[in-house]
């Protein structure tokens, strides 16, 4: 286990450095000069040169990458072109909001996905299985932003059961929950459907295995077999998906955040794209990447810890 953990973490280092390089090189894809963009059309050449030096644009590329890397590791992601705010502070202020959204989505999705998947597996071929099968297929075909718009139209505009704007900040806990309902449903349907399918597949495989048959022939009660033996052993792939989902949703929440006008990482990135504020875009994508990598690794480590077979690969 220790060896596996170390290997996994060591591989993370070149991956993250490569990822940082990718984010860094975005600056090069950008047409135009950031210094002249910041100073506007009236700037003199001397002013532009001074800005180049201040931004470190006069240094050779490897030195700039090194500077970017070391300052990013220290949590310094530069400053916004337009407002001069610290990028890390901006991201820090919106990250908890996205985190609430992502965590509740994944919690909701796994509750439904794993639960219904297990139920479908137990009733394989039965009516519940069929409903789950077709239901999940239909759900997989609805992108979260379409689901978000439709939910907003039905429950927010027509029937006006749920609020459609903002996150209900400063209005107490229940208001925040009230504002969370539609975004969470919109984002979790696809994930729940996906988890349902995986859970069902693994559970059917587990239920057909020898040790379940043995347990059955020993006369173990059905709920005991299902809960203690089958569910616990078939939950492993779902953990992997849970980790991936949580990481992906930090970035994937962008549509729902924009549609429901909630503050968050995705919304910050997109608004910065509109304003062509590259440092914020870079910093935001970077933070999303790091979170994505970390949640994936944690999920992998949990899986390796629960299921020793995966460590051998």
């Amino acid at each position: 286990m220790l060896l596996y953990t170390i290997k996994r973490l060591l591989w993370m280092i070149p991956t993250l450095m490569g990822g940082l390089f990718l984010v860094f090189s975005l600056t090069y894809l950008m047409p135009g000069d950031p210094a002249s963009a910041m100073l506007g059309p009236t700037a003199t050449q001397a002013k532009i040169d001074a800005m180049h030096i201040r931004l470190g644009l006069d240094l050779p590329i490897y030195e700039r990458y090194w500077k970017f890397l070391t300052s990013a590791l220290q949590g310094d992601l530069g400053v916004s072109i337009w407002t001069g705010h610290e990028v890390s502070a901006l991201i820090g202020s919106v990250l908890p909001k996205t985190a609430i959204l992502a965590v509740s989505t994944i919690a909701f999705a796994s509750l439904f996905g794993i639960g219904l998947g297990a139920l479908a597996a137990i009733n394989k071929g039965g009516i519940i299985d069929k409903i789950c099968n077709y239901g999940s297929l239909l759900n997989l075909a609805i992108p979260s932003f379409v689901a978000a718009i439709l939910l907003m139209m039905f429950f927010g505009v027509w029937w006006q059961i749920f609020p459609i704007m903002g996150a209900g900040e400063g209005e107490g806990f229940w208001s925040a929950v009230h504002h969370l309902v539609l975004p969470v449903i919109a984002m979790s349907t696809g994930w729940a459907a996906f988890m349902l399918r995986i859970q069902r597949e693994t559970m059917i495989e587990t239920l057909g295995s020898d040790y379940i048959r043995t347990a059955r022939s020993f006369g173990a009660p059905r709920w005991h077999i299902v809960y203690r033996y089958a569910l616990k052993n078939s939950i492993i792939p779902s953990i992997t998906i849970l980790g991936m989902g949580l990481g992906a949703l930090f970035g994937g929440a962008v549509f729902v955040e924009i549609i429901f006008n909630r503050q968050g990482l995705g919304q910050l990135i997109v608004q910065s794209i509109y304003k062509r504020d590259l440092p914020i875009v870079q910093g935001g994508v970077l933070v999303a990447m790091v979170l994505f990598v970390i949640t994936n690794i944690i999920a992998d480590l949990i899986v390796a810890w629960v299921d020793p077979r995966t460590r051998l690969k």
Partner: protein, 318 residues
């Protein structure tokens, strides 16, 4: 959905884990003439399940509409008519009109062109690059080439797909070609991983060993002998990735980072629908419905491909 984002790498996992057995069943070494037979076998495999049949029909319908858009669309999708602004669905305009009086049905029809262009373009580019690099890595197992290719794959895969695509389009500037390029950049490592895993198990096969012993060159070995035999799992992943790319294109256009304004995309139509949510619900309902049916078609097709191409799946069906 931008949960689709994760989903796609998960579906690519499916072929990865079952890699060993699958390659063993799928590969049939032989002259290129047999490839035709294989193509027919794939179609027969898809057609063998109800999911595959329905999926194939829907997908063919959308491809047909996209190709013959100028014959199918009842109106010019760009023609504005201020008098007919926000007209509700009627016989003249079955899906209604938008905020500039443009016919929504016609715009949907032309939007399918955008959608198919991006979905096919991205997937073809990604399969070409990904499979080539994946085979190259698998062929050079354990040496520097292999590690640098895996590192590149993992580096790109360590980003949430939609965000990386967003950032790339943001710096390249919004255009359909840039959308294809950006999405391909985020997608090819997924195909590459599958190709590599498949190649690794295939390298042990007797006919590859025989080819190597006879001195067949790397390129020929990869192109003629490995590539045709690792296509089954790639094809299964392709079905799912088509769905994802349709979502991503719609998503990017939704954010205003896709096709330029007068152009029609399901995504930018939905955005306009969201802006007119109080006045013109048909601007939301019909694009959502069409997007939903299209996605369902490709999801069903990929299920059909899996059932048709993966012997495990077939066994578990009965």
């Amino acid at each position: 959905m931008v949960n689709g984002q994760r989903k796609n790498s998960d579906t690519t996992m499916v072929p990865e884990t079952g890699g060993q057995d699958k390659a063993a069943v799928v590969h049939m070494p032989g002259p290129l003439a047999q490839q035709w037979g294989k193509g027919r076998a794939v179609m027969a495999g898809v057609w063998s399940s109800p999911e595959g049949r329905l999926g194939l029909c829907i997908v063919m319908f959308f491809i047909g509409v996209a190709i013959f858009a100028n014959f199918v669309a009842p109106y010019d999708p760009y023609e504005q008519s201020i008098r007919d602004r926000f007209a509700a669905p009627s016989w003249a305009h079955p899906f209604g009109t938008d905020y500039l009086g443009r016919d929504i049905l016609s715009r949907m029809v032309y939007g399918s062109r955008t959608s198919m262009y991006v979905a096919f373009g991205t997937n073809i580019l990604s399969v070409a690059v990904g499979v080539f690099l994946g085979m190259l890595a698998g062929r050079n197992k354990g040496n520097a080439i292999d590690y640098s290719i895996i590192l590149m794959f993992d580096m790109i895969r360590s980003f949430p797909q939609i965000l990386l695509a967003l950032a790339i389009v943001a710096v390249l500037g919004p255009s359909l070609t840039n959308v294809v390029l950006a999405l391909s950049f985020t997608l090819f490592p997924f195909y590459g991983r599958i190709a590599r895993t498949q190649t690794l198990s295939l390298m042990e096969a007797p006919f590859i060993k025989a080819g190597q012993a006879m001195g067949v060159g790397t390129m020929r070995l990869m192109g003629r002998h490995i590539a045709p035999n690792i296509m089954a799992p790639i094809l299964v992943a392709w079905g799912m990735e088509m769905t994802n790319m349709i979502i991503y294109e719609a998503g990017l256009s939704f954010l205003g980072l896709g096709i330029a304004p007068p152009g029609a995309s399901w995504g930018n139509m939905l955005r306009k629908g969201l802006d007119s949510i109080y006045v013109a619900p048909w601007m939301i309902i019909f694009p959502s419905l069409v997007l939903f049916v299209g996605m369902l078609g490709f999801t069903l097709l990929s299920t059909g491909l899996r059932i048709g191409l993966d012997p495990h799946e077939r066994r578990s069906e009965d």
